[in-house]
């Protein structure tokens, strides 16, 4: 199971996934081999304690170390809001979160984890948020990549997603920004800084409601370095508590951030902000300009809402909402009308006149259409499945994917099942002896020139005795042979891999006695002018070679110059007795038939 998220827009049972699709009888542990969580956002991990502690799933759970560290904090934060403020019952408890997280097995990037005998998984860097990963899962010869949320352009604190060209049978990608090609990140950053700067210059206060983890660290880096650069002294605050802890995670997991931050952290950790200080509640009434980052991000409760109530009535001030707000929150109400002053209902009893400026700036790090196409190109999947997006936009994008990559692309509705045909080559164990023999035969037929190359293909080169310290016996050619003939006996036995063996090996394995059937055919040479004048061994060799398929070389016997040979076949010209003697073994019967046919068509012998 990839991810186990929560829908933030619902307040009833619909907020958790309908797990009855997996098992009507709640046999989740039996049905699911493992749960993989891609990152700490609640729409990806929010239902995990519910699934493990309330639905009874008891199998392995995998996530990266930063996700494992941060995920419980966000879960607890959300739980508090739901239970303590909204009075929800039937929600998981703090103990359940702890118990659930204990079961999580951390995975490192690129580490291949064997979940069981069949299933292995591997994590790739996804950008997006700290610790976010895409996951590759493989069973036998079938494989799938699930992206979670990802980001194809590096930002101030994270790198961009990257994956091998692993050619999965299926790529499941998020499509939050399926059809958008977003304007440059720099532009949005400049816009943000300009607005903040203008506001504080005029003596206004800027409130930026944020989630404690994620984009806010990027904004802090942005604003901290801007302040440094512009030499500004207006105070910047970060609402205390969770936030400080959050920054600490970034300091500790700096390996998961981008190259620049990693390289400089010993001299200066980017998350040790110079201008940003912890906020104290009395500062809310302090005169003069300031910038404040406060949680939560949707202005639905807590510090950000308290400050908002005080600052909103002044038109000098500004609120910048750097993300998405769920319907029903104050943040959402504000964003639905950013044009001018408005009356906003804070709760049933309170209505507030909002005169401050309101802005929404999207800093959310998802891949846009271009990024999605990049990832498809990078991983070269055989099928693509679009999720986590709007239906119409996914439809549009899927057309583009089908057109550009000529691969099937799906965007199923929730609750439906898609089947994929994975036509896989059949694995077969090929005998190394056979492989070697065929390579050597082929190389010899190619007049030795490929011998060295083909030896690179086989397990162990034909080792010759070398002198001690002769390290340089052969320079290697690395281009592989395109294709070589392969002939052998395939054996299928119960409970065994398919095997392809050399003839001798097969007879040994199956206790079958091989019969060597050899022939000795003495053909009379036809008396005609051509033969009488021209029939020489050279002529025969030349003419026969012409008729033979490419790759079959007729050679002259070095001891007896009257004999031609090819494979097991020998042709001896005895002009004195007017006899052409053919010898071969039954193995090469087909080849000999071709030769006899040639001799006949050249009117050399009469074949009766």
């Amino acid at each position: 199971m990839f991810d186990c998220g929560m829908h933030m827009g619902y307040n009833d049972e619909r907020r958790f996934p309908d797990f009855s699709y997996i098992s009507k009888t709640k046999q989740f542990t039996k049905v699911i081999d493992c749960v993989i969580i891609t990152h700490f956002h609640l729409d990806h991990c929010g239902a995990l304690p519910y699934f493990t502690e309330m639905c009874g799933y008891d199998g392995p759970i995998y996530m990266t170390l930063p996700t494992k560290a941060i995920c419980p904090i966000l879960l607890e934060d959300y739980r508090k809001i739901m239970v303590e403020r909204k009075g929800e019952s039937n929600f998981f408890t703090p103990q359940m979160i702890k118990d659930c997280m204990k079961k999580v097995i951390p995975v490192g990037l690129h580490q291949t984890v064997k979940v069981d005998e069949e299933l292995s998984i591997k994590a790739y860097y996804a950008g997006h948020v700290l610790g976010a990963a895409m996951f590759y899962a493989k069973v036998g010869d079938e494989s799938v990549v699930y992206t979670g949320d990802y980001n194809m352009t590096p930002d101030r604190h994270l790198g961009s997603a990257w994956i091998d060209q692993i050619k999965p049978d299926l790529l499941i990608t998020e499509t939050t920004y399926a059809t958008t090609i977003r304007d440059s990140k720099r532009g949005r950053e400049r816009d943000f800084l300009k607005r903040v700067h203008e506001c504080v210059e005029k003596g206004g206060k800027v409130l930026i409601p944020v989630f404690a983890l994620g984009r806010v660290q990027e904004l802090c880096i942005l604003i901290d370095s801007y302040w440094e650069q512009m030499n500004l002294s207006v105070p910047i605050y970060f609402s205390a508590g969770l936030a400080e802890k959050a920054n600490f995670y970034y300091k500790l997991f700096i390996n998961w951030t981008n190259q620049k931050i990693k390289q400089t952290f010993v001299q200066r950790n980017m998350f040790d902000f110079k201008h940003i200080k912890p906020f104290q509640s009395h500062l809310v009434d302090a005169p003069g300009p300031m910038v404040l980052f406060a949680t939560p991000g949707m202005l639905h409760a807590g510090a950000s809402l308290e400050v908002f109530k005080k600052w909103a009535p002044s038109e000098l001030n500004m609120v910048i909402i750097p993300g998405y707000c769920v319907v029903g929150t104050v943040g959402n109400k504000l964003l639905s009308n950013t044009s001018g002053p408005q009356m906003v209902e804070i709760d049933k009893k309170t209505t507030l006149e909002v005169k401050c400026k309101v802005h929404n700036l999207s800093f959310s790090a998802h891949a846009d259409a271009k990024g999605i196409m990049q990832l498809i190109k990078m991983s070269s999947p055989k099928n693509v499945l679009l999720v986590h997006g709007e239906r119409e936009k996914m439809g549009f994008l899927s057309q583009k994917i089908i057109k550009d990559f000529s691969i099937p692309c799906y965007y199923p509705a929730n609750g439906t099942t898609v089947n994929f045909n994975t036509q896989k080559p059949i694995p077969i164990d090929i005998s190394t002896k056979l492989l070697k023999r065929q390579l050597v035969e082929y190389s010899e037929s190619q007049e030795q020139k490929l011998l060295k190359q083909s030896q690179n293909l086989i397990s162990e080169g034909q080792e010759t005795e070398e002198e001690l310290f002769n390290f340089n016996q052969s320079k290697k050619l690395n281009s592989p042979v395109v294709s070589i003939p392969m002939q052998g006996i395939m054996i299928q036995r119960e409970n065994h891999h398919l095997k392809l063996l050399d003839f001798d090996e097969a007879s040994k394995e199956l206790l079958l006695k091989e019969i060597n059937l050899d022939y000795n055919l003495n053909l009379e040479i036809i008396n005609n002018t051509v033969n009488n004048n021209n029939l020489s061994i050279e002529y025969l060799q030349k003419e026969l070679q012409k008729q033979l398929p490419i790759g079959f070389m007729i050679t002259r016997n070095s001891q007896d110059q009257t004999i031609l040979s090819i494979k097991s076949i020998q042709i001896q010209l005895n002009t004195a007795n007017n006899i052409l003697k053919l010898q071969w073994s039954h193995k090469d019967d087909n080849l000999s038939k071709i030769l006899i046919q040639c001799l006949k068509s050249l009117s050399i012998v009469d074949v009766k």
Binding site: F469, I484, Q487, D518
Partner: protein
């Protein structure tokens, strides 16, 4: 499979593995203890001047010892601050251009890398774990800094060094004089070893850029059909063993520095992944196998405690990363327990700050307790806490304003060879008082060789030789071999008398042990029977299975079939597909794959054949038995003769002059055979 040893001793571990025509260099360490052949610069110009003149005078008649050498206690020392380093052997013999991969096990075994990447034609890929790359780079840089600082000091012997030191005569003199060499290849080694000037900063920078960092259990797939995987070795930050493996049970394990100690900071050693290899290369075992690291650690603590209580300074020469990561926390805690929390601990190293900062970042590479701390979130190591308490100070280097307290203190400082680095300054500062202590804890340096130049005047401080080596010792190694049960085991020749033959209890495999020494090549035949290939659609659809009887087990179904196809390499996989012949029967000239005809005996016998011949109109038969040969002469109506010779019921030969008759006879025989399997 072939293994060549390019290291002078296990310390400068370096092996060249050739497997499936791929050349893999396993580690490229440096024989760092060779710098013990140099005199510490702090002694050169003062204490030994007279001594030297005297000696020169004494040896005037022989004139054997050049000016650059000093003899102390029958050991020759090189009196120069322009140090040369003993890198891997046979550099002029190995064609680095043909080496495909370099695999590094940990940062101790990477010191020769810049020599290879920047001074040879090597163009392969280098793999190391992420901490190995980061810490390794810091340590090489530190060595560079210490070296450059020292070589810039004025010294009267610098000018003529280059020529003299590169001459193998001098090396030989040094070797013969100072070491008991029982290596049979000693002459070869002399021929192939070369002491070199250290690389520069740019070399390090460029060299490390070429390394591809990997994580534990990350699979590196090699085109030639195998994979290489680093697995945790428990020795130090990011240290690994390498597993070279394929789907057919060829399994080679390169076991480098490993530790089984559970209380240490690194992620524990992964043993399971290494089990049942065809070949185990076991290098770098404990330098002091008879000592228990835990006991030495306890003794170190209590001696430090005593020194502090007597108001003395404890000077501890160390490597800037490694065992120190165990020691700082441990000693700080010990001192606090004794109530000596006001005694400052100094870590004097140009890279100390970075090492500690990186160590805190690599929680994924640390033991479980430390990993859990990172999730709190707290730094996995306690160093920052101890620093905040004021108990621990990081000093970049010793300079005029480094003023340690007058009272007791503990000073960790490099280089542990006592030939380089700030340790020399501190040693001259503290060695003249008996209340101070010098602790020699790094295991790779020999006690006597370390100290013997410091005898005039003798060191007054107390000297504690307490090497702490967390590596696997011989008895652990023997247990580990039992558990891993390798078919073949290669060990450095130095371990020959300590590693025993095993019959593994579980698998009954007798391990064949082969010792290897410098410049030796060992061939191990790994009998691989199969390679993995795939039958593609084009050929699979033509396959017609023929059921045959199993002579041993009549219940088992066996199907056989002849495959006639072509083999190609796609995406690193062998694919068998249908050849042109199957697609296009008419165009024989384009086909290079003419079907073979195999025959197996089903119920062929001479009686059957004769009966069948007669039934088919061959009435005139003359049968004769000649030794083991049975000859059937068939006399045809026109008095022509065909002959069938049968030997042993397995070899049949038909001799005739008519193709039609041959065909007829062949078909009679094939009736009793399994044939036409495609």
């Amino acid at each position: 499979m072939k293994l060549s040893c390019l290291g002078l001793s296990p310390q400068s571990s370096c092996y060249l593995l050739e497997y499936k025509n791929v050349k893999i260099l396993l580690d490229c360490g440096m024989e760092i203890s060779s710098i013990l052949n140099y005199l510490p610069y702090s002694l050169k110009t003062n204490q030994f001047k007279n001594n030297n003149q005297q000696q020169q005078h004494n040896n005037d008649s022989k004139k054997e010892i050049p000016v650059i050498f000093k003899e102390i206690n029958n050991n020759l020392y090189i009196d120069s601050n322009d140090i040369r380093y003993s890198t891997i052997l046979g550099e002029n013999l190995v064609d680095f251009e043909t080496i495909d991969y370099i695999l590094i096990s940990n940062y101790q075994n990477i010191y020769s890398l810049p020599f290879i990447t920047e001074y040879t034609k090597f163009k392969g890929r280098i793999y190391a774990t992420e901490p190995t790359v980061q810490i390794g780079k810091l340590l090489l840089d530190e060595l560079y800094q210490m070296n450059i600082k020292q070589s810039r000091l004025k010294n009267y012997n610098n000018n003529n060094n280059n020529n003299i030191l590169q001459s193998s005569e001098i090396l030989e003199k040094l070797y013969n004089h100072n070491m008991n060499n029982n290596n049979e290849n000693f002459d070869e080694i002399l021929k192939f070893s070369k002491w070199k000037e250290l690389y520069n900063r740019l070399d390090i920078e460029k060299s490390f850029e070429k390394i591809i960092s990997v994580r534990f259990s990350e699979i590196i797939t090699v085109v030639q059909g195998f994979k290489m995987v680093p697995t945790s070795s428990g020795f130090t930050l990011g240290s690994c063993n390498w597993l070279i493996d394929n789907e057919h049970g060829d399994k080679i394990v390169y076991l480098s520095d490993s530790s089984l100690a559970l209380s240490r900071y690194p992620l524990p050693m992964d043993i399971e992944s290494l089990e049942n290899p065809q070949l185990l290369i076991m290098t770098k075992l404990n330098y002091h196998p008879q000592l228990q690291p835990d006991e030495k650690l306890n003794e170190l603590c209590s001696q430090i405690g005593l020194t502090c209580q007597q108001g003395g300074t404890s000077l501890i020469p160390v490597n800037s990363c490694g065992i120190v990561l165990d020691l700082f926390e441990h000693i700080a805690e010990y001192l606090t327990r004794l109530g000596l929390f006001q005694v400052p601990i100094y870590f004097i190293s140009p890279v100390g700050k970075s090492v500690l900062a990186y160590a805190d970042l690599y929680s994924e590479w640390l033991n479980k307790t430390k990993q859990e701390r990172s999730q709190m979130p707290e730094p996995p190591f306690l160093h920052q806490d101890i620093i905040r308490r004021g108990q621990f100070q990081l000093i970049h280097q010793i300079h005029s304003n480094f003023q340690p307290t007058d009272g007791p203190s503990i000073q960790f400082v490099g280089h542990p060879s006592l030939r380089l680095g700030d340790v020399l300054q501190l040693l001259s500062k503290y060695s003249d008082q008996s209340k101070n202590s010098l602790f020699l804890i790094e295991p790779e340096f020999d006690n006597n060789r370390l100290l013997s130049p410091f005898q005039n005047p003798p060191l007054q401080c107390r000297i504690h030789y307490l090497p702490i080596d967390p590596r696997i010792n011989f008895s652990d190694a023997n247990l580990l071999i039992s558990k891993l049960s390798p078919k073949n085991l290669i060990i450095p020749i130095n371990y020959k008398n300590y590693i025993k033959n095993h019959i593994n209890e579980n698998s009954n495999i007798l391990t064949t042990i082969t010792p290897i020494q410098s410049m030796e090549i060992i061939k191990i035949s790994i009998k691989q029977k199969f390679d993995r290939a795939h039958l593609d659609k084009s050929i699979a659809k033509y396959i017609k299975l023929n059921r045959i009887e199993n002579k041993l087990n009549s219940i088992e179904n066996i199907n056989i079939c002849e495959i006639n196809g072509q083999l190609s390499l796609k995406d690193n996989q062998f694919i068998i597909s249908s050849s042109n012949y199957n697609n296009n029967n008419n165009n024989q000239n384009n086909n290079n794959n003419i079907k073979l005809n195999y025959i197996f005996n089903n119920n062929f016998s001479i009686e059957n054949l004769i009966e069948s011949l007669e039934l088919n109109g061959f009435k005139n038969l003359q049968i004769s038995n000649n030794n083991n040969y049975l000859i059937i002469k068939i006399i045809h109506d026109n008095e022509e003769i065909s002959i069938i010779t049968i030997y042993n019921n397995e070899n049949i030969k038909i001799e005739t002059s008519k193709e039609t008759i041959r065909n007829q006879l062949t078909n009679l025989i094939l009736k009793f055979c399994i044939h036409n399997l495609s």
